[in-house]
Assembly symmetry: C2
C-alpha cells in the first residue's frame, strides 16, 4: 500500500510525498527559490542523427555541488533557510526540477534559421529516495527500494496520462557521473516525443517480436537465469545479470522472467524481488573495490503511447563508469564518435567478480 | 608534397614517419615493449541497439598517464629507455597501437552463449602531431596542421585499400576526456564494419540526397557562411561554424563549401584553408576561458566502401566537454539513457563568444 499527497511549492512547482503509512502533518512546503520558475527551452532537430537536441540556456545557473550543510534535498529544519523538502513523516519525495530541460507547457519557440525546431514538451522531476543524506539507494532496506519502484511506476502512469510519449526514471550516481547534489536522488525525464535510443530499441524489439513471436528481454532474463554464467543475483521471478553484450564494464541488467512492459505491471511479489535484486547489484558494485561505484541507472519501460507492447519487458540497466579501482571508463573517440563501445571486462568475468563480493 | 617512410618496430608493429622534406637518417626504430603484441579481442552484437560492442580485455593493462619524463610519444634519446618513436628528422608519426581494440587479423572468436559474435577486424593507430610534447594541435603552424590533414588522408586511403569499411581519425584532448598520454596525439580507428553512428548518418544523408538531390553538409556550410550568424572562422572554400543543432556546448564543425566526400578529395588550397580554420577554432576554444579546452574531435569522411558518395561531404566535428570555466559537460541520464542531448549554450551564443576571443 502506498500513500501519496500532492502539494504546490511557493514558486509554483509541484511536490509529491510518498509513504507506506497514511500521511501525517508536515511542516510548511518550502522552496529555496522565491521567484516563479522561468525557463527558456526549445528543441532543434539534428538532421544527420535525426534526433532532437534540447536547448536550455537557463540551466547554466543551476545549483552546483552546494556544501553538505546546505543540502537542498534534506527536510527543512530552519524556515529561514528553506530546502526543497518539508519536515514531516514521509519516505520518498518527488518534485518538479527548478531547472528543467523540458516542461509541460513550454513557451513559444524562438525563430531559428537553419534548424527545424519544436517546443520542448516534457517534464523533469527529482526523486529523493530518503530523508537521510547518508543513505545510498542500494543501502536502503528492500521494502523502501520497493516503495521507490512503486513511486517510479506511479509517476510514469501520471506522466503518461499527461500526454508524455516516454518516461525515463534514472539515477546519475557519483560526482564522476556529473551529479551536482550529493544527497542521494534520482531523476525522471518525461519526453513529449519518443527519444532516439528508445525509438531504436522499439524498432529492434518489434522486429524480433514480429520475426519470432518472442519478447527478447524476458526471454533473455530466463535464458540467463538458466545458463547461470552471468547471473549476479536472482530471486523469484526476477534475475540480475551481466548482459552478454554489455557496453560498460560491470554493466548489469535486472528484469522479470515473464513479459511485463512496465513497473506498474509487476506483481507485488515481483516488485519485492526486483527491489532485492537491485539492492544486491548496487551493494555488490560498491563492494567490488570497497568504494561507491559511479554509475548511470536507467529504468527502461515501454513507450507510454497507449498501445500494447508485447515486444517490451521492463528492465533496469546499470552502467558503471569505473573500469578499475583507480580508472574511470571514459566515453571518447570510438564510443561517442562511432557509437562503438570498447569494453575491457567481459560479462562473464564481470558477473563472476560481482558474485564474489562479500556483503 | 609529403614524404613517407614505413618501418617495423622490434615488436612487429608498423611505424610511418612523415615530413615535407625527404626523410633523413633516423635513430634505431624503438618500442617500449619487447614481446610481440598479444591481443584478445572480439565483437558481440547488442540486439536492442543493433550495434557491435568490442571486447578487448588485454586493454585493461594499457599505459596510463606516465610521468612527463617517461613520455612514450617523444623521440627516443636513450636507447636503454626506448619510447615509441625514433630520433630523427620527421614531422608527424603514425604507429600501430600496442593495445588495439581492433586488429587487421584477429584470432578465433571464443564461444559465447547468448550473443552473436564476430572477429574484431579493424585497426587502431596513434598519430603524433609533433615531436615536442608542449605543442597542442591548435598551436602548430598552419602548414604543419595541413600536413596532419594529409597524413589522415593517406592513412584513410591505405586502410581503405586494406579492406576497412570505415576510417575515423579523432583526437581525445585533455585528461577530462580520458587521455592516458599527455603528449599531444590523435588516434585512428578503422572498422571492418560500418559503425552505428556512421550507418545512421549515411541513412540520413542518403535520404536527404534522394529527396532533394542535395549534399546536406556542403549546403549547410555554404548557408552558414552566407548567414554569418554562427560562423567562427572562414577562409577560401572552408567554413567553421557552430552547427544550428549542435549537441555539445561550443560544438564547432569545419567543412568545405563544395561537395567533397573525404580529405583526399580536397585541393591543396582547401586543405590549407581547412588547416587555418581548424587552428582558429582550437585556439579560440582554448582562449575562451584561458585554459586548454578538453574536447573530442572527429574527422567524418564518407564510408570507404568503394562506392561514390555524392550525399556526403567531409566535416571535422569538435565537441568540447566544458560548459563553463569550472564546469564540465557530463553525458548522463538524458544523453546516454535516451540519446537526447541537453545543451546549455545556443549555437548563436557559442559562435559569438568564440568570435570574440582575442588571439
Amino acid at each position: 500500500m502506498m500513500h501519496c499527497a500532492e502539494y504546490v511549492k511557493p514558486d509554483g512547482r509541484r511536490l509529491w510525498l510518498y509513504g507506506r503509512r497514511p500521511p501525517g502533518p508536515i511542516g510548511p512546503v518550502p522552496s529555496p527559490f522565491a521567484s516563479p520558475v522561468s525557463v527558456d527551452t526549445h528543441l532543434r532537430r539534428h538532421p544527420l542523427l535525426r534526433e532532437w537536441v534540447i536547448y536550455a540556456s537557463h540551466r547554466q545557473d543551476r545549483t552546483f555541488l552546494p556544501p553538505a550543510e546546505n543540502d537542498p534535498l534534506a527536510p527543512t529544519t530552519d524556515p529561514a533557510n528553506p530546502t526543497e523538502l518539508p519536515s514531516g513523516d514521509y519516505e520518498v519525495a518527488v518534485f518538479e526540477n527548478r531547472f528543467p530541460s523540458l516542461v509541460p507547457q513550454p513557451g513559444a519557440v524562438p525563430p531559428v534559421q537553419g534548424a527545424d525546431t519544436a517546443p520542448a514538451v516534457g517534464a523533469c522531476e527529482v526523486v529523493v529516495f530518503a530523508q537521510e543524506a547518508a543513505q545510498s539507494l542500494g543501502e536502503l532496506p528492500t521494502d523502501r527500494i520497493s516503495l521507490v519502484l512503486q513511486v517510479w511506476a506511479e509517476r510514469t502512469r501520471a506522466l503518461a496520462r499527461a500526454g508524455m510519449a516516454y518516461v525515463l526514471p534514472f539515477e546519475n550516481r557519483g560526482t564522476e557521473m556529473g551529479v551536482t547534489l550529493l544527497h542521494p536522488h534520482g531523476q525522471i525525464y518525461a519526453y513529449g516525443f519518443l527519444p532516439q535510443l528508445q525509438a531504436r530499441t522499439l524498432a529492434a524489439l518489434r522486429e524480433h517480436h514480429e520475426r519470432t513471436g518472442a519478447d527478447l528481454v524476458a526471454d533473455l532474463a530466463r535464458a540467463e537465469r538458466d545458463r547461470q554464467i552471468r547471473v549476479v543475483a536472482a530471486r523469484g521471478g526476477v534475475v540480475a545479470f551481466a548482459p552478454p553484450f554489455g557496453r560498460f564494464p560491470y554493466e548489469t541488467w535486472i528484469a522479470p522472467t515473464r513479459s511485463v512492459p512496465d513497473l506498474a505491471g509487476l506483481t507485488a511479489e515481483e516488485r519485492t524481488d526486483m527491489a532485492f535484486a537491485l539492492s544486491q547489484v548496487l551493494r555488490r558494485l560498491d563492494g567490488l573495490w570497497g568504494r561507491p561505484m559511479p554509475y548511470l541507472m536507467t529504468v527502461n519501460q515501454a513507450p507510454t503511447d497507449g498501445a500494447p507492447h508485447p515486444e517490451w519487458t521492463v528492465r533496469i540497466e546499470i552502467w558503471p563508469i569505473r573500469r578499475a579501482p583507480e580508472k574511470l571508463k571514459f566515453l571518447a573517440g570510438t564510443e561517442l564518435g562511432a557509437g562503438v563501445f570498447a569494453n575491457d571486462v567481459t560479462p562473464e568475468q564481470a558477473a563472476a567478480d560481482l558474485r564474489g563480493v562479500s556483503l
